[in-house]
Point group: C2
DNA sequence: CTCTGAAATGTTAGCGCTGTCATTAAAATA
DNA sequence: TATTTTAATGACAGCGCTAACATTTCAGAG
């Protein structure tokens, strides 16, 4: 009695074969119709589509992927979702994927290279059509996986190091350097720095190094700095600014590791009655939309996060087979003078 | 000569069979070892794992899923990635998925029910182990797909309507209502409202309705309102506030559709010299972290976005088979008195 | 020693599709 | 009318893995 199929009966299990039977054609014909492949007579197409619609048949892409050896999945490994930066990258990826039938399979690394390795392995198990990972720092094993596979690999955000295949992003060193140059030109001399955990956000550290380089060339250096031992946040920026201003070294400008931290700095100044720019100038990084809406427009650098995700994905789709030559795309950045520095 | 395999030679194509051959065991034994299933002698396990490690074999989950009829994919359909709200939900989902071998397959609906239908169909094609969708408003076809499948379906954010299977979120009507009560109790009488596109963000509209209900019960109503015909943003909030204050109807408090808009309002007031609370009180919705860091702490309602994602996912994992009884989980909300109202 | 049963491993038959190569029907050419 | 070409469809094998059942091995019990 116990009519046991392999799958209990979770789903009603409508397959290609059912549709084929109901419309009196072979399975392959249904398959071709659903994938718009090969010549099909209008008559047959209509008949089959009628069955498809009336039954609500949804093709099983797992089976399809296995049979055709391509998955239309894009593996995405990003470090975090705690601020708006990577969601914007994701949005760019989704934007580029719109209208295609690729789907992103997303994982979070928590800025941890070990976690990234596990994640990348797990994403690769889905035999993705391509991979998008953040940064170019990876464990050896991760690097090996990404190198050996024949699929396209986009390393996003950073273009300073040499990429495995495609790099899309900006030079964080130059951004830091230009920040320094810009502020020196505007007459600032006594520099402070407010940062967050460099072990996590390595690109913030590179920007810092670029900044130091520019200051050095101008015969200057950073007088005082406070670094928060944790992820960036507005609250942390506020607290660290308070700490920085308590120090005995008077500074006239503070460079922040990013906009979240910088906005915290602005809020602290507003609350503590510190006059922005007159007493303390503030410079951020990212160019978040909110910086634009502040009573005093935030001085910062716009990184094109949405664009990074979008272009990386477009380049991948442009040619799904790995080329021999690596490809580096600089999405650039833009100094926003603003009103806080 | 032309040794054509089906797959060009994109990947070196190392399969279970290869590993089995190299370690002198059957495929199923390797399979069992890699899935920690069934009794395996230490000797065999070591031998096989040595081969796995030295070859860098990564199992093909597409094949595995097809064979075992379960994919360990969680389909996620969210409306947008333009502010931090849904990224936080995603973060909750990832948090709950950490340590399991489930992976989220994410898509964006752009607050469009038609897009959602296409997306849900496309996600379901991967035969996910469960689905997470935002809200409970769907097209008929979407609803049919989600109802007929035997997998678990979590509708998140909103618990006002009856769910298909699981609902995790809060009552937006009650939140709006409580906002009204709270502000009336604090003595405000002349209410303004600043909103954004209700056609997109339907939950904002429900909160508005709750607010109106509370005001009505107190014999009050909304004197003036400005609604931005687009997605919420800090800039829009700022602009709409300016517009609202230009009106002839003097108001003493403005309720905003969410924190992004409210923060824009605060920024406008700071810039225009409007004294917060004395001249205009501001009340938001969401309880974003940034509201805490403002010079004057934002008065708002905390919705537990991270928790919503996390709990929805946990409930799904708790039992992957659909129960007969729908499950509604109220993650609640909390009025944050703050300093702006 | 045989017997029993658990532990360890193997055999077989698919999962639901699609690539490859037929095959058939219809149209175009000779 | 015979022959080639093209359009439309089909048969069949197999993608890489796992469920279900089968078999072997080897303790310890009798």
């Amino acid at each position: 009695m116990k009519e046991r199929t392999r799958l209990p009966d979770k789903k009603s299990k409508l397959t290609l074969a059912d549709v084929a039977r109901l419309s009196n054609v072979s399975e392959i014909t249904v398959s071709r119709i659903l994938r718009n492949k090969g010549p099909i007579s209008d008559d047959t197409r209509e008949r089959v589509m009628a069955v498809v619609n009336s039954t609500g048949y949804v093709p099983n892409r797992i089976a399809g992927s296995l049979a055709s050896a391509n998955s239309n999945i894009i593996g995405v490994a990003i470090p975090s979702l705690t601020n708006i930066v990577f969601p914007e990258v994701l949005r760019g990826i989704h934007e580029a994927l719109k209208g295609t039938d690729f789907q992103p399979l997303v994982g979070i690394t928590d800025y941890n290279l070990q976690t990234e390795e596990v994640l990348v392995r797990s994403l690769m198990a889905w035999k993705p059509a391509a991979m998008i990972v953040a940064g170019s720092e990876h464990t050896d094993a991760t690097r090996r996986m990404l190198t050996q596979t024949g699929i396209r690999v986009a390393e996003i955000m950073d273009i300073d190091p040499a990429p495995i295949d495609i790099a899309v992003g900006m030079s964080h060193f130059r951004a830091g350097y230009d920040t320094g140059r810009h502020l020196v030109e505007r007459g600032y001399r006594r520099f402070g720095y407010v940062g967050h955990d460099w072990l996590q956000d390595r690109r913030a550290k590179v920007r810092y190094e670029g900044l130091c380089q520019a200051l050095k060339e101008a015969g200057l250096s950073i007088f005082a700095q406070t670094i928060f031992e944790g992820p960036s946040s507005v609250l942390a920026g506020s607290a660290m600014t308070e700490l920085l201003l308590l120090g005995k070294d008077a500074i006239d400008v503070a460079v922040y590791s990013n906009d979240d931290m910088a906005i915290g700095g602005i809020f602290h100044c507003l609350g503590a009655g510190v006059k922005l720019r007159e007493q303390l100038a503030i410079f951020g990084f990212n160019g978040l939309e909110i910086g634009d809406a502040l009573p005093l427009k935030l001085s910062t650098i716009r990184s094109n996060r949405f664009l990074i995700g979008k272009i990386a994905t477009e380049k991948i789709l442009e040619n799904l087979d790995r080329r021999f030559e690596p490809l580096v795309i600089d999405t650039g950045y833009e100094i926003i003078s603003g009103q806080t520095a």
